[in-house]
Symmetry: C2
Subunit: 192 residues, 2 copies
């Protein structure tokens, strides 16, 4: 989604910008957070931000909703176990103060910007799809699933369920939610 | 959600208001649609609208997203068949020009109004939950499922998947989508 700079100083600036966004959006909400305030807290110039992100929506998305993209892919030995870990990571992302504060404004900006919206599947969801594909490949190797699982559909189902309950309804997740979702999904796609 | 008037003239006014909303939101979008324009097109006074609905969000929700609430509950003889019909009704609701035009603004208004948001589960989703409960009771009578299906979770899964793909990603539904979703959900909750 963004060009990752190779130099350590740029890496530090990148991390400082994302940390500043996470703090500021939780403190003041999405609409009130200015990129000037982000730049000031991160100790960079505003041009550094504009060089790397198309605008506030993309910047907040990366800061708030990509925490698990670089985490190791779970390998618990069962499809249900692996999906439980992945769904719990989604739940954790949607439950942070920054995510709760950001989501309404972020949704409105994504809905209004067709160029951003068109990149959700092709760019923003791609790391999650890759992680899910690894899990399904392992399940297939264990003969738990066939070779033809519709990864996009399962991804939409897992993300959509968590997004709808936590992000739209504003409910909090009980301790069983990840496993309850994973159990239905795993059973729904396993070979019998 | 609203007090249904018993007198025929009020019934006609109610239907005229909902029809006017459906037309106007598709023509001009959610933000630009005024309740004054709705009243004028429906041939009623604005006070008639304010007596029945808390505001634009609730009015548009009822006009656009409750079409299937009064439809007969499907009874195809199989859980997958019944769920396919219910999911297709959801897809049809989310695919109307009025729904596509209304959703971004409606989402933003619901997200900003905690009183509305708190009523999604208890009021707005209740007719769909009742329909799903009838389907699960029949499946249990056929011994296809146990007695303990988590209806709220399955409802969030079905609505969330359709909502995420059509409403958030803006993708259109292929002819197989309803059955693909229903197959995974039915298999996921059936007794083995």
């Amino acid at each position: 989604m963004t060009t990752r700079p190779g130099r350590p100083r740029d890496e530090r600036a990148h991390a400082a910008i994302l940390a500043a966004v996470t703090e500021l959006v939780a403190e003041s909400g999405y609409a009130a957070m200015s990129l000037g305030a982000v730049a000031a807290r991160a100790g960079v110039g505003k041009d550094t931000i504009y060089r790397r992100w198309s605008g506030k929506a993309e910047l907040v998305y990366e800061a708030v909703f990509t925490a698990s993209d670089a985490a190791p892919v779970p390998d618990t030995g069962s499809l249900e176990g692996d999906l439980t870990v992945l769904v719990q990571q989604l739940i954790d992302e949607f439950s942070t103060p920054a995510a709760v504060a950001a989501l309404p404004g972020l949704l409105a900006d994504f809905a209004a910007a067709s160029d951003l919206r068109a990149r959700i599947r092709s760019a923003f969801l791609e790391p999650a799809k890759q992680r899910l594909t690894v899990v399904f490949d392992r399940a297939h190797a264990r003969r738990q699933t066939g070779p033809d699982v519709d990864v996009d559909l399962v991804l939409d189902g897992l993300v959509g369920t968590v997004f709808f309950r936590l992000g739209i309804l504003g409910e909090s997740a009980g301790p069983e939610l990840a496993q309850d979702i994973a159990r239905i999904a795993a059973k729904g796609i396993e070979s019998r």
